[in-house]
Symmetry: C2
Subunit: 224 residues, 2 copies
């Protein structure tokens, strides 16, 4: 019997790469979808590509650079400086790209319908909730309900949204990834997009802490 | 007092151009957003641009051609032949671009948040419901509920989705457009995208009938 296809939104970060490994472990045939929205950490896309190669998945990068330009005001796409420190600080709110997940997931659903995939998977996790409104469980539920109507009668009848990390902390994801054998050195978190992880921005801080809390050795080389 | 901004998704077709004129009449400052998704009737974008110019609106065309390629299987973007005849025939279902409205409206919401617009407007009408699941009132309600969560705390607190034609027939839109002085010859409907309207495809058939039913003179020059 042919395996059912999962379409996963993968940025090349620790969470989404672990998600792809989980889906492979669960027996799905895999299609990975990445988005180029002019993010300054475009380097992560290379890690998404390598993840696809490693798992024998098909892979598309969708050029949304024209969309990125419309969503100005975020430090992830603009010339605004990426703030240092923890995510739960007020300052991290400048890293919000408005409506990013609705945009990415809508495109992913369209592609999933065209491909006949049975699920769209995304790696939002519990640590994202305070800063990003479109990472919360209530957003995910509402989005899935909307899509059930939007593509009714098209695509695979059982098409659903799968967000297995929505109630997990990043430390729990690291623990899961370690058990799945995820090569964490082949993932990229830093918002700065330099040669090495900066070690200081919100996502670097979160990454370091997650390894510590999980008691998993952190293979990442940090600059700061 | 500065006027509030409405962001309207405008294809350059009869419905969305009438929508833009309605919003101008209602006193909004206007931003028009069009999408280039590799549609073969790309000509309509020129009519969207002219509409913006006429109404003194700002205007952006968003390049989604990379997304269009993922949503294959539709006669609007592929080499599949555009079917002739009425919309309610089975054959018109090949003109469905899966999830198109969720994708367009998500991008529009992101842009509206970035711009501080108070509403996102779109021109779905009653005649679209049988063929396009993402033109139905239940989709629109669900989409708006999803976006309320997705952008909570960002953008204008009253941001809403405005679809004034959702229960109107195309003939009623023509009647409204006539009363607003819409120059219908400056709108494009045909899916073929030739020099003149073909007069035979689903949307040309619907256009002709709408003028007849509304008792409004049709300024369109049809080929067939």
């Amino acid at each position: 019997m042919e395996r059912e296809e999962a379409l996963a939104v993968v940025s090349g970060g620790l969470d989404s790469v672990t998600l792809a490994h989980l889906l492979a472990e669960e027996g799905y045939s895999l299609h990975l979808l990445s988005f180029d929205y002019g993010q300054r950490h475009g380097k992560e896309l290379e890690y998404a590509r390598r993840c696809a190669e490693r798992l024998g998945a098909s892979f598309d990068v969708v050029d949304l650079s024209g969309v990125g330009r419309l969503l100005s005001g975020s430090a992830l796409t603009d010339e605004i400086e990426v703030p240092h420190g923890r995510y739960d600080e007020e300052s991290m709110s400048v890293t919000v790209v408005p409506n990013r997940n609705a945009i990415f997931l809508s495109v992913a659903y369209g592609a999933a319908v065209a491909r006949g995939s049975v699920l769209v998977a995304a790696a939002m996790h519990a640590g994202d909730h305070p800063v990003y409104p479109d990472c919360r469980p209530e957003f995910v539920r509402s989005f899935e309900a909307m899509e059930r109507l939007a593509v009714e009668g098209l695509g695979h009848p059982g098409l659903r949204l799968y967000t297995p990390f929505i109630h997990k902390t990043k430390a729990e994801i690291v623990g899961l990834g370690a058990s799945l054998g995820v090569p964490f050195e082949e993932t990229w978190s830093c918002y700065e997009g330099g040669e090495l992880h900066c070690g200081l921005c919100g996502t670097c801080t979160e990454r370091r802490e997650a390894f510590e809390l999980a008691g998993v050795e952190d293979p990442t080389e940090y600059r700061g």
